[in-house]
């Protein structure tokens, strides 16, 4: 199993498309930082003109914490979409090139082969989110400095600089669980659809639908509480004045359980299906 995982990591790192996708994620981060550097101050001033007359804000509001929060918001769509493309590609490319057949012609267990891909998908996703967090903290603080964080969630919430750092860090951690969920779903979709374009379209559709349904009230407490689409904004819970830690633990636990269900379903399908 360890050899399979090592082989999967090796293959992922040897493919040019992996680096293109990673470059895309960090390019988005760069664009956010550059835009903020040249235009951000004006926008913040317009938005907060009235508030500034009533409140005292310590430091510049266009600061590292706000930029990290803006980068964090790429977890809504940009980051999971790119992750889904990369992760589903680790299986669809094997179908396209026929290498899955060559692998299955070796004495390799089907479920171990796919499980190793799921494990690599999880590791890769966590590393990407970790580096996204690391670079966003590093670049944002070094370019824009420290200061209070202002976030609009139902109402305007203000956090001191040290409080903001704490909340942003945990938000990335919680967001990583959500990203892992989307990565796992994309790999399961690749098991079902096999072909790259179909898988990408369905994965993008899944992501959009999840984001849309997040705002829908299903009129039933348990559906609203347990349905996976309702769990993907947990990383935003960190930006309410009072942090609902039990809600965060519960939602992330549920997302992990959903991820495991998707893995089990993918393994079952893959084992059942003929190759070729």
């Amino acid at each position: 199993m360890r050899a399979l995982i090592a082989a999967e990591i090796y293959k992922l790192l040897r493919q040019g498309k992996t680096y293109f996708a990673l470059a895309a994620i960090f390019l988005i981060e760069g664009v956010i930082l550059i835009s903020a550097y040249y235009q951000g101050s004006n926008i913040i001033d317009i938005l907060l003109d009235n508030l500034k007359q009533s409140f005292y804000f310590e430091g510049n509001l266009l600061n590292g914490n706000l930029l990290i929060y803006l980068i964090l918001n790429t977890l809504w769509f940009h980051v999971p979409l790119i992750l889904m493309i990369i992760i589903s590609g680790i299986l669809t490319s094997e179908y396209k090139d026929g290498t899955i057949q060559t692998v299955m012609l070796q004495p390799v267990s089907k479920w171990k082969f796919l499980l190793s891909k799921y494990i690599v998908a999880i590791i890769f996703t966590l590393i990407v989110v970790f580096f996204l967090a690391l670079t966003s903290f590093g670049l944002s603080y070094s370019i824009f400095g420290f200061g209070d964080l202002i976030v609009y969630l139902d109402t305007l919430n203000f956090f001191s600089s040290s409080e903001a750092f704490y909340r942003l860090s945990w938000s990335f951690a919680s967001g990583a669980v959500s990203m892992v969920f989307f990565s796992i779903v994309s790999l399961t979709l690749a098991v079902i659809f096999k072909e790259a374009t179909k898988t990408w379209i369905i994965a993008a559709f899944f992501l959009i639908l999840s984001n849309l349904l997040l705002k829908v009230d299903f009129g039933n407490y348990w559906v609203n509480r347990l349905f996976f689409v309702k769990l993907n904004d947990t990383w935003q819970y960190l930006f309410y004045t009072e942090i609902d830690w039990s809600g965060i633990y519960w939602n992330n636990l549920l997302l992990i359980i959903y991820s495991m269900i998707f893995i089990a379903f993918g393994l079952y399908l893959f084992n059942k299906k003929d190759i070729g």
Binding site: T102, L105, D274, I275
Partner: protein, 285 residues
């Protein structure tokens, strides 16, 4: 017997792709599977290799090694972004084969791949990919090698060297080799036993030469001045360029060659033309 498929059947929706197929191959034996496109050759091989489950029938494999069968089905599918050595290494790694660097180099040499090619296999010719595919199939010493259309897409030199490799593996390493083709010429040169498949049924099986003899009523003779022959007038003959297709029985072939020699027509090749229609007619019965 190393590998055997007994009463194998497979349908895709309403289409019966295989119908009670029996096939077997022993150590050191080269079994050819002859059939036109869509006859069921690839499906049969996929079933034998465990890629596809049969609807009915059983597969017997008499090998206690970690890898009973090595195979290439349809085409040698490789990681195009890796070089030959890296491909071999990664396929060795995923199956847990204890292979050191020297053994990997030996594998490449065994199949006749140049060691100085360090570029990705995406740049390789089909022949080189085929060789690398065989090297991967041979990892972990399988007792049986299954090759689906191994000669397609190869140039004459590639075909000749692959043929030599297959013959060596059967003769020297006593490997059971199953290979398919729709080209009888290639199968006749390597296989000792021939299975003929048509519409998902084995319509003929037995020693290759016997099947060829029984189903050949035309031979093609080539010589530079063959069109000047008078002897050929005794037979139903079609002359095209330097070759003549002659309807003749196998027993009469040596006599005709002698007669042509007497006419100072020196034959450079004599190829039996298998009557595929006659052979496949059996499936309709």
């Amino acid at each position: 017997m190393i590998i055997a498929g007994n009463d194998l059947s497979k349908s895709y929706r309403s289409v019966k792709v295989l119908n009670k197929v029996n096939i077997s191959c022993s150590a050191g034996e080269i079994c050819g599977l002859l059939g036109s496109n869509g006859a069921g050759k690839t499906t049969l091989f996929k079933i034998l290799c465990g890629l596809v489950s049969p609807d009915n029938g059983t597969i017997e494999i008499n090998s206690k090694g970690p890898k009973p069968i090595g195979a290439i089905i349809e085409k040698p599918a490789l990681y195009d972004y890796l070089n030959a050595y890296q491909n071999l290494k990664i396929f060795g790694k995923i199956q847990g084969a204890q292979i050191d660097d020297n053994s990997l180099v030996e594998c490449l040499v065994k199949v006749g791949l140049p060691l100085d090619r360090k570029d990705p296999v995406g740049n390789f010719s089909m022949g080189m990919k085929q060789r690398l595919g065989i090297a991967i199939a041979l990892l972990n010493d399988p007792a049986c090698l299954v090759l689906d259309e191994p000669f397609s897409g190869l140039d004459p030199l590639g075909i000749a060297s692959l043929r030599k490799l297959i013959l060596d593996l059967a003769e020297k390493e006593k490997m059971a080799i199953l290979l398919s083709s729709h080209i009888i010429d290639e199968l006749s040169k390597v296989s000792t036993t021939l299975y003929v498949i048509s519409n998902g049924k084995i319509v003929e099986s037995g020693p290759t030469q016997r099947i060829i003899n029984e189903n050949t009523d035309t031979y093609t003779f080539c010589a530079s001045n063959i069109s000047s022959s008078k002897v050929l007038g005794k037979y139903t003959t079609v002359i095209k360029g330097n070759c003549a297709s002659v309807q003749i029985t196998q027993e009469k072939v040596p006599e005709l060659i002698q007669e042509l020699f007497n006419e100072e027509i020196y034959i450079t090749s004599c190829t039996p033309e298998l009557n595929m229609e006659k052979l496949f007619e059996l499936s309709a019965k």
